[in-house]
Amino acid sequence: MKMLFVFRKDKDLRFIGHLDLQRAMQRALRRSGLPVSFSQGFNPHIILSFAAPLAVGITGEKEIAEIPLQLPVSPNDFLERLGKALPPGLIALEAVGQKDDAPAAMARLFAAQYTFAPRKGEEGDWQKLLDALPAFLARETIPYIRRTKSGERPDDLRPGILNLLEKNGELWATLALNQHMTAKPDQLLTSLAETAGIPVPLADTRRTALLDDRFNPLEQV
């Protein structure tokens, strides 16, 4: 069987990058004594896949990973054993047992939800940002320069913004995150600040959900 599990990556760990997170999760799984599977080769590692890497600086409230297990384990048992083994700042929230041939979470991923809150001392400019929302959403294209490993190229942010609104003074966004289209949260903030005519404000960014193409959370299989 394989287990899909949901975990939180706390604010304290926002500076821990994806590779470091992978290593920490592998070590936690090793400590947990769960019947994990190892890759072949001279440096065997625990087979584990994440639905979507989380950028440094962002808190993850419902991150998702999947792991094949050599023996059946109940979701509750899995959650308890993993929970005990996780380092401070990583919290196991939910586990869902799946058949080995169930489609991978990574393949079902379509979009992600983000929340942006103003950092203390940045509240002044924040209102200008919120005020610029209607104008921003009215734009037909939002051109920007996309930086990738292979260089820079012009791109359009607008089609990747699936939903964007204000809620209790915070900014809520649903952004495309799939192989055809990706909109990044820091670019959203940058482009929005550009429209508002202000410097990019410091914000606490949280990824609150990973969604499939029907906008259901991935863990609702």
Partner: protein
């Protein structure tokens, strides 16, 4: 840390490289409360987080101190240049990783002295932490600054910056010193009184309580205590029973990768081989083993507590560990099926390795490392590296037959009495190792032969038989390196060498006196930092620092000392006597070897320490 500062820190962390090394919060980090009556200690590693978190000694002391109810230990490391500049610009003091407390607020701040090229970092860390850099400038509220570790065996270049040095095994003396400092501060004792009381603890050297006098030629004339509490010499402390000595059962597991990111089992401390260039071999005497039983227990606890996927055995000469086969087989039996690999570093080449090798190989075929140190038998006899060409070729042959195909060979250049013939012997040996590979039947040997020849520059060190020797000049080392570059242009052989400039400075500090503290201070003022990182090292600034201090580096590095010269480090008794070292020096010049002292006692001086050595 108040809210304003932590907000500025937050913004700073978002713009520096690899911020994970500045935030703590690792699994098994110990965050203890700052209660009244608890003595607070900041263990400072004067290099980056990745280096610090690879260091076993820090983990031992961190664990030991935090096990005590009345003490706590937090960690601090040298920030990289971007963070260092950022802290200064933002007015954020260097803080501990656990409770984010500025260094200046601890009762005691301690540095581990692992290599000379980290000394400028100590000065910068003090400054960043809000502590006056010079001990003479510290006030009653400033922490007591202590230091220990291998380089403390010649503490004099740091005499102006460190309040007290702890000599020998840290398990023994650290707790006593910390408790005394904490109690003294709670009682409101004057700083000078605390230091004087510290000096009464065996193994503690308080430089302010001694004066040095010099001859006109710059050599040391006399060394005198100025306080009745100050003993001369200061005797190192020894933890005689390693099974009873404190050892961590869980260790902080960094999120970001450390240089050596694994479980380390210290199987043994000390070495009886008596290689004449090797300071550790002299400093860490007597030899003490940890039992295989104890190591199995520790390994299991550490695996359970950390989840590490790799384990290594550590000592100066693991091949000499009496229960090696039992240990390796036992560890493999327990952990191999859990995907935990075992690596065996620094194996000497005369151990009986085949069994041990076949066991390691079952888990992971990593490269093998050998250290013949010199290219000819004559020079290996001079340095008393009791290894023959035959031993080496037999052992690499066994390794190739086991499926190993990568071999690292370590040498030193600039050893006393070295000739060009000795250097060319290095190339000869590399060629023969390649020959041993091709002599292994094609079906048995693994593909992809790679021989790496690394040549370090010899640095004469205190408390070795070569403490009297001159280091080769920079020009001579460069000539020798280029000779070797030509000779080592061999298929499948890679030649690595180090910058001789760094070794040159290392030599100055290794055998430096109190005057070298001026050079260090000037270099610090000129912005030298992270000198162990080649991209940061700035030789010109160091030369200017020598000029500012009115000193000649050649006096320290390139001068052959006379038999009776008083050395700055003679104020310490680390176990081996000067008479023994001189005897070994004379044997070296006659190219005569000395057997391992387990065969018969050579009278090195350790029998003076009760229970240390059978003799």
């Amino acid at each position: 840390m108040d809210e304003m500062v932590s907000r500025r820190l937050e913004a700073l962390l978002a713009r520096v490289q690899r911020p994970a090394r500045y935030v703590g919060g690792e699994l098994n980090a110990r965050v203890k409360a700052w209660r009244d009556g608890v003595t607070t200690f900041a263990f400072c590693f004067p290099d980056t987080y990745e280096v610090a978190m690879s260091h076993l000694g820090m983990k031992i002391i961190y664990d030991l101190v935090n096990r005590q109810e009345d003490l706590l230990c937090e960690r601090a490391m040298m920030p990289w240049t971007d963070m260092m500049d950022g802290l200064k610009e933002e007015g954020i003091p260097l803080y501990s990783l656990e409770n984010k407390v500025p260094l200046s607020r601890f009762d005691a701040v301690g540095f581990t002295l692992q290599y000379e090229m980290s000394y400028t970092n100590i000065l910068h860390m003090l400054e960043l932490g809000g502590i006056p850099v010079k001990n003479a400038d510290r006030g009653e509220d400033d922490p007591i600054v202590i230091a220990g570790g291998p380089c403390a065996c010649n503490p004099e270049p740091l005499y102006a910056f460190i309040d007290a040095f702890l000599m020998g095994d840290g398990e023994e003396v650290t707790l006593e010193a910390l408790r005394l400092v904490g109690q003294g501060r709670r009682e409101g004792l004057k700083r000078a009184e605390i230091l004087s009381r510290l000096a009464r603890i065996p193994g503690v050297y308080v430089p302010a309580l001694y004066e040095a006098a010099y001859h006109e030629d710059g050599t040391l004339a006399a060394f005198m205590p100025t306080d009745p509490a100050a003993s001369l010499p200061v005797e190192k402390r020894v933890a005689l029973n390693l099974d009873e000595a404190s050892y961590p059962e869980d260790i902080p597991v960094p999120f970001t990768e450390a240089v050596h990111d694994r479980i380390v089992l210290e199987v043994m401390r000390g070495c009886t081989r008596g290689c004449r260039f090797c300071q550790a071999g002299m400093l860490y005497r007597p030899v003490r083993e940890r039992s295989a039983e104890k190591l199995f227990e520790l390994a299991q606890k550490l695996v359970d507590a950390t989840g590490y996927e790799e384990m290594s055995l550590s000592s100066l000469s693991t091949g000499d560990y009496s229960q090696l086969n039992e240990l390796v087989q036992g560890l493999n039996a327990r952990f191999a099926n859990k995907g935990i690999s075992l690596s065996l570093p620094s194996l000497r080449i005369d151990g009986h390795l085949e069994e041990a090798l076949s066991d390691t190989a079952r888990v992971k075929k990593s490269g093998l490392t050998f250290a013949p140190e010199a290219g000819t038998q004559r020079l290996r006899d001079v340095i008393n590296k009791g290894v023959t060409e035959e031993d080496l070729l037999r052992t690499v042959g066994e390794a190739f037959a086991q499926g190993f195909s990568q071999v690292k060979l370590y040498f030193m250049i600039g050893l006393p009495t070295e000739t060009d013939e000795d250097l060319l012997g290095i190339a000869d040996l590399a060629r023969k190792v390649a020959g041993a590979y091709y002599a292994t039947p094609k079906g048995r040997r693994a593909r992809g032969l790679r021989i790496t020849v690394s040549c370090a520059t010899f640095v004469p060190k205190p408390f070795t038989p070569f403490q009297w020797a001159a280091q080769d000049t920079l020009e001579e080392i460069k000539r020798k390196q280029s000779l070797l570059r030509g000779a080592l242009n061999i298929k499948n052989v890679t030649f690595n060498w180090h910058d001789p400039e760094v070794s040159y400075l290392e030599a100055c500090f290794a055998r430096g006196d109190r005057k070298m503290a001026d050079v260090l201070y000037q270099a610090y003022l000129r912005g030298c930092r992270l000198d162990g990182w080649s991209e940061q090292f700035d030789l010109d600034s160091w030369f200017l620092a020598f000029r500012d201090a009115g000193l000649d580096p050649q006096f320290y590095a390139n001068r052959e000392r006379g038999r009776d010269e008083l050395f700055p480090w003679d104020l310490l008794d680390i176990g081996v006597t000067k008479a023994y070292l001189w005897r070994e020096n004379e044997l070296a010049h006659a190219a005569k070897t000395t057997p391992d002292c387990r065969e018969y006692c050579l009278g090195c001086g350790l029998t003076r320490f009760e229970g240390a050595c059978a003799g």
